[in-house]
Amino acid sequence: MQLIHKTNVDFLKNRKIAYVISLTLMLAGVLSLFVKGLNFGIDFKGGTEVVLRFEEEVTVGEVRSVLKEAGVEGAVKRYGADRSILLQTAFEGNLNDLKSLVNNALDDRIADNPHEVLRIDSVGPSIASDLKWAALKALLGAVIAILIYVGIRFEFSFAVASVMAIFHDVFIVLGLFSIFGGLFDYMPLVIDQGVIAAFLTIAGYSINDTVVIYDRIRENIRSGKSTEYTATFNRSLNETLSRTVITSGTTLVVVLVLFFFAGPAIRGFTFAILLGIVIGTYSSLFIAAPLVLDWQKKTKRPIKLRGG
């Protein structure tokens, strides 16, 4: 079976449109980041989270009012879909006090529906600020490493374009996290350690996809006599299209399964990867390779490729 047979799509003709779409998405994201910001989890702002599960259905409002009466300040939300409630509070101090306060209040007021404390996480502010730095360092490290590696294996323009594609992907996903953050109970899109890991995975995935296309461009430039780069680039994109779609498709299916079945704890993480795969595939086709072509057209220098 073959989904995509010999294609001849002109990916490059409409690259300006792709640039406009991407810029619009990025601008919207940046705007939302400034206006609305991100929904940071306790990993990054410190605080305490308690996950409770009840034996039978319970309304968020009921739990909220009981806890409020008991003097527990904080936000009460639904956690995932299975009778679980998440309490977020700025509480700092002896977690046992909090736990017994919550337990006593709920045992007392919602006695006919027993509950269980599934998880308590408490993160101090110093850890939170360290985490931010670690995440930034990791992303910067990844970008520099990719610049060097792709620069050595291909050419400097390829390296710069691939890094721009990475920023493109990460920024758009980050922007979408800001825009949709907190809108859905099913996935609150909280920025936690897992989501940061997802962003680095997106960076890795984006470059993976891009490099495969670069590899084909390299091969075609070497074997072809023509110096007509536009045709060569287009041919390379078409030749790898089948692979790009199949790989993205299978990975997407696997991540979709994770998204729906692996539970609320890593739902933000899988959602980020889900978006990352879609946008990473798009950017490999419409951003990374076209940028190299535009670079070449501007400088009018023939592409000299290393590696092979």
Partner: protein, 605 residues
């Protein structure tokens, strides 16, 4: 095909190795299944007794589950090095206190090097460090080296002591490691009594024997504190001044003429008690420098560790005025044991001292017959018995303990020794066993579904070639799990996500190759040539793309903390394994099939 024989042997050997590495995991699982089947408690007990050695061996070598999957506690502790530095300094004056306060605020939000910050504060003010540390003749450099060494030693010692405490408490497979300059990570699987663990880890276990001053001095001191507080309140009514913060604010708000006596009870017989509700406030109050100045020289006020019940059911703590300089400290303790006292109801901890301590203790008790000596642990008075006679044997007893469990914990911390500096819990994550079971179920379920869907698609899309990918995928997962088990790394929920993601990525390498082979076949090449060219042409793309992803995984592992590292680790192993399975395993399968003429152009779908 000599080359292929070598590859085949390699594949078989690696698979055997993987299975061997996972064998204890299977054993462990089957033992627990068999245990579940035992009907009575006696049966299970005899089953365990019969198979004890093999059960333990299997458990030790089996694939470990992370804290999130099996439940337990994850804590990050921070050693308070500033406190250590303060202790080391002599001749502390206001300038020094200001420096320390600055260092404290500057290092509060990060894992920064305390000593470096301290040094820069000193340099900014151009004060020689020898004014406060070590010998006057020492240069700044010498002092920095010494302080740095002290700080390093303190963290190492704190880690050892915490390990000791955890070991004595009895947790299976604890992880205790230092992180950065002053943090210690403690992971305790399967622990359910969180509060007990918290106390056990946090307590400095600083044991001191201090003389109790007479009650008159205490009452006088309280009188002075009260009037000073009342005075302050009047001045605080000035609206220009900011509201007092935290605990201070509470008394200010009351505007009482007796701010202290509102929070403390003085009985007619002169005994002083602190009611439960004001305990925290009073503890903070008596720590304050302005208050300590009002006390007699070299003294401090401490509350008892245990409360007594008043007639109306409220709880009260004893209040003591102690001589600040301890007569003796816990360093001399060599042995500690939790037992029940003479009445056989009250739990207590008996202690033995070394020869130096024994001699001192004999002298101290001899000189203070008829007076009270308080036994103070981490700033709380456990008991303050009256010395009835000289104690020559170097023995001592802590009583005033709530229950036998607390006595056992005291025994543990006293045996393990005192922490060189106080330790704070700055991060804590607890996962209950139920949630862990849920995670395992949903994680395994999604991994299985992901694998199944991809496997079906590959066969559907690439036919025979897809089937070889499926074999490669199964091997891939086998390799990842066996490497995790072999290096006793734990499998966590993000780890499972990493494996599932690896499935997707592993397919990529095969897709690259198969698409290439299809192109070659389309150009009319024969099977063998098409397969060989396909592999060699796809090689550079696979290596380049996988190495970059590997790099991202590596950075995640380096900078990531806790759960992220689990994800990064499985991702890295998965990519390495997928390089092998895609480039070697499927190639050998194809070669074998082509040799037997079982491969046609149709085999690639």
């Amino acid at each position: 095909m000599k080359n292929n024989r070598f590859k085949s042997i390699l594949i078989v050997a690696l698979t055997a190795l993987a299975l061997w590495s996972l064998w204890p995991t299977y054993q462990d699982y089957s033992y627990s299944k068999q245990l579940d089947r035992q009907e009575t408690a006696e049966d299970s007990l005899s089953f365990v007794r019969d198979h004890r050695e093999s059960i333990e061996a299997a458990a030790e070598k089996s694939l470990k589950l992370g804290l999130d999957l099996r439940g337990g506690m994850y804590l990050v502790l921070e050693v308070d090095l500033i406190d250590l530095i303060e202790e080391k300094a002599w001749n502390k004056d206001d300038a020094f206190r200001r420096i320390i306060a600055d260092v404290r605020s500057k290092t509060a939000g990060s894992n920064a090097q305390v000593i470096e910050v301290l040094v820069s504060e000193f340099q900014k003010r151009s004060i020689r460090m020898s004014r406060y540390f070590y010998e006057v003749r020492d240069s700044d450099e010498e002092i920095i080296v010494k302080l740095r060494k002290e700080a390093q030693d303190a963290v190492v010692r704190a880690k050892e002591i915490i390990r000791n405490r955890v070991d004595q408490y009895g947790v299976a497979e604890p992880v205790i490691q230092s992180q950065g300059a002053r943090r210690i990570i403690v992971a305790l699987p399967g622990v359910s009594d969180e509060d007990r663990v918290r106390k056990l880890l946090r307590g400095s276990a600083k044991l001191e024997f201090k003389l109790v001053k007479d009650n008159e001095s205490l009452l006088e001191a309280l009188e002075r504190i009260n009037s000073s507080l009342a005075e302050n309140e009047v001045s605080k009514e000035n609206p220009d001044l900011p509201e007092g913060d935290g605990a201070e604010g509470e008394t200010v708000a009351e505007k009482s003429s007796n701010p202290l006596y509102d929070n403390i009870v003085v009985l007619e017989n002169g005994r002083v008690y602190a009611p439960d509700y004001s305990r925290e406030y009073l503890t903070g109050l008596f720590q304050r420098e302005s208050i300590q100045k009002l006390l007699p020289k070299d003294s401090e006020i401490r509350l008892s560790a245990r409360s007594i019940e008043g007639s109306d059911g409220a709880m009260f703590y004893d209040v003591y005025l102690l001589k600040k300089t301890p007569e003796l400290t816990g360093g001399v303790i060599t042995e500690a044991k939790a037992t029940f006292g003479a009445s056989a109801v009250q739990p207590e901890v008996t202690m033995k001292m070394n020869s130096d301590g024994t001699a001192k203790w004999a002298r101290i008790t001899g000189a203070n017959i008829g007076r009270r000596i308080a036994i103070v642990l981490d700033g709380a008075v456990y008991s303050a018995p009256v010395v009835e006679s000289k104690i020559p044997g170097g023995s001592s007893v802590i009583n005033g303990i709530d229950g036998i469990e607390e006595a056992q914990d005291l025994e543990i911390v006293l045996k393990a020794g005192a922490l060189p500096a106080p330790v704070r819990i700055i991060e804590e994550r607890t996962v209950g066993p139920t949630l862990g079971a849920d995670y395992i179920r949903s994680g395994l379920l999604s991994a299985a579904w992901g694998l199944f869907l991809v496997a079906v698609f590959m066969v559907f899309y690439y036919r025979k070639a897809g089937f070889s990918t499926d074999i490669a995928l199964v091997l891939n997962i086998l390799f990842v799990l066996s490497v995790l088990a072999g290096f006793s790394a734990a499998l966590s929920l993000p780890g499972i996500a990493g494996i599932v993601l690896t499935i997707g990525m592993a397919v990529d390498a095969n897709v690259l190759i198969f698409e290439r082979i299809r192109e070659e076949i389309a150009q009319g090449k024969n099977m063998r040539l098409a397969v060989d060219t396909g592999y060699s042409k796809a090689f550079s793309a696979i290596v380049d793309s996988q190495i970059t992803t590997l790099g991202a995984g590596f950075l995640l592992y380096i900078y990531g903390i806790g759960p992220i590292q689990g994800f990064a680790l499985t991702l890295m192993i998965g990519i390495a394994a997928s390089l092998f399975t895609a480039l070697v395993v499927t190639k050998v399968i194809f070669d074998l099939l082509i040799d037997r003429n079982l491969m046609t152009a149709k085999s690639f779908g």
